[in-house]
Symmetry: C2
Subunit: 368 residues, 2 copies
């Protein structure tokens, strides 16, 4: 391990609406319809707004690459097949995960509007980015929601040392009253690989429960950890959750599963065949809507006013840090590392698209 060192990352700010239009234009140039391009751009930019940079526009060059390789179908015909009044199946036809997932969640909400609850199972999809995107779609339309997906190999089952399961999130959301919504989007691993990469860059050790090295031994060295695997959160618990995501996402739907979902950054022989599962439910099936909202407010109020433990100054509800970040970045613009923007601007130049303006300081005020 080297000692700590200063890392200078040049940060540039951009306007969310300009980024959104820019991303949509890149996607239209790669064959998506205007509508579908806007859906994908909304999801990507919303991830950046919420500080979930691991699912934002920095990953767009990879998606564009797969579009050009015909591994993402820019024009799927998305026709959910109704199996019962509460159940639909959607063949994603290898479409862009953002578009497929948005279509599926819309169908789940349609089913739930009529039957109280609706589920949609999806096969032949691709990476859909931030699961919270679809929770937010449902919650903002007034529905309780679950969003499950499987993913390519990234984590061993508990007790193992080779990646087999995905680090697909468990995601659940519920509309709130006046105190905001409940948005839980949690990976089943102790820590994201991104955190380990950051420790490497900063020359820091990682806690011993984050990862195993290539020999299956716990390690605090981020370089050795990156050659190995991240560990499931809570041992058998995170491992069980990851299997559950594979059962709901892959086994039930007819998609790839059990380690067969292709890695979008490593596997270029065929589309990924990701599987998803969406559930939407009316919140006022058993109590009235006003009562539901008032009850959510009571829960949030009691959680937030809990006396803090040593080292804490406030208690946040799930999704609250991201909602705060979104409110800040809607004012300040989104800060991007310059190194993340360059490849996007290079993509733009290839197709004669003008890069968007960027600024070396926050727009319209400082970041609090």
């Amino acid at each position: 391990m080297t000692s700590n060192q200063h890392i200078t990352v040049e940060t540039l700010y951009a306007s969310p609406s300009e980024v959104r239009a820019f991303v949509a234009a890149l996607l239209v140039a790669h064959g998506l319809t205007e509508d579908d391009a806007r859906i994908a751009a909304d999801c990507l930019v919303r991830a950046d707004l919420r500080g979930v940079d691991t699912h934002g526009i920095a990953w767009l060059p990879g998606y564009l690459d797969r579009l050009r390789r015909n591994l993402i179908n820019p024009r799927p015909s998305l026709q959910p097949r109704r199996i019962t009044p509460a159940v639909s199946h959607l063949d994603g036809e290898n479409g862009f995960g953002f578009v497929v997932a948005t279509r599926a969640m819309a169908e789940a909400m349609d089913l739930a509007s009529a039957t109280g609850i609706g589920i949609v199972s999806v096969k032949r999809s691709t990476h859909f980015g931030m699961a919270a995107s679809y929770l937010l779609q449902a919650v903002e339309a007034g529905f309780v929601a679950l969003v499950f997906t499987n993913a390519s190999r990234a984590m061993p089952p508990w007790g193992g040392r080779e990646a087999l399961l995905g680090t697909s999130p468990f995601a659940a959301g519920a509309p709130g009253g006046e105190k905001g919504a409940f948005i839980l989007d949690m990976a089943p691993s102790v820590a994201a690989r991104g955190k380990i990469r950051k420790a490497l860059r900063l020359g820091q050790a990682i806690p011993p429960d984050y990862a195993l090295d290539a020999d299956g031994r716990p390690t605090t060295d981020p370089a050795r950890a990156l050659e190995g695997v991240v560990l499931p959160m809570g041992g058998p618990k995170g491992s069980g959750l990851a299997m559950l995501m594979d059962i709901f996402g892959g086994v039930l739907s007819g998609a790839a599963f059990a380690g067969d979902v292709r890695d979008q950054y490593k596997s270029f022989d065929a589309p990924q065949n990701v599987g998803h599962f969406f559930l939407a439910m009316k919140p006022n099936l058993f109590v009235g809507l006003d009562e539901y909202r008032a009850r959510m407010d009571v829960l949030f109020e009691r959680v937030r006013s809990s006396p803090p433990a040593e080292g804490f100054t406030e208690i946040l509800t799930p999704g609250e840090p991201e909602a705060r970040q979104e409110a800040r970045r809607l004012r300040s613009g989104i800060p991007y590392p310059k190194d993340d923007l360059e490849p996007l601007f290079a993509e733009a130049r290839k197709i004669g698209l003008e890069p968007i303006p960027t600024y070396d300081r926050p727009l319209g005020g400082s970041i609090s």
Copy 2:
């Protein structure tokens, strides 16, 4: 901390079917119907068979006490109200949680049989023991299932130091092929209070992430931990799951929530008003049943044959340790600490019921 010391716990074995009949007789004597008594006895004894002693017959005296205080209603009229073809609501009328939950899961399966999926929300229930009991009912009948419940205060939200949320499990199950079913029943806390009590008894320290003392500080002293609170698993993740259980169990159903579910061991002024949520789903909505079962077998085979990490000799799937324990105890009988049986036999003597035979060694062979 004292140093390690030998603890002698006298263990007695009993036949599962004799225990079941004994428990049912005690419950009938407290006003339950024969059918309902058998349901509750099945759940309690199955927990003991599976090694989930924290939800077994050792807790029966507490339940009987609440029956005698009229805080559990021995004769609820359980009439699920159908709200849509996929949705029912059940007023548990303060009935025994085992009976209420079994009725609700049966209704969810009825709905799912017709509509592919069914959900049942329950209010005015009481503690329902092991969540896996209801997963097993569904899975053994061929359904995928989710079982959520809320519970009395036991754990702070992440960052807090006072108990507000329950340690209600997140529970999910799915039928398998030839390699067994998937049964995930996981508390959102790092460790159960039972583990901390055991460390105290053995004079051992506990890991620093298990609990806070009464001042909200991490502690490795089990005595101080028991004066404080257990911590959520994975920090905000376990805390978020516990809130989700309270939303699905309590907020939506009309039951008590946000810390208002009464503690069955401390609160004797009114029934608990626990809320539950049950989901049942056909596994063959999107692929055929044979294909579904074959896919589950592939997943289980790949998980179990994963190369083990240092310190592990085999990889188990969720529910597999409990299924193995159940197979062993069906042969050996169930081992009980003598101290757990005495109060039950005292209850039996009160009503002129004969205690069951117990043995100082395993029945029909040794425990492997």
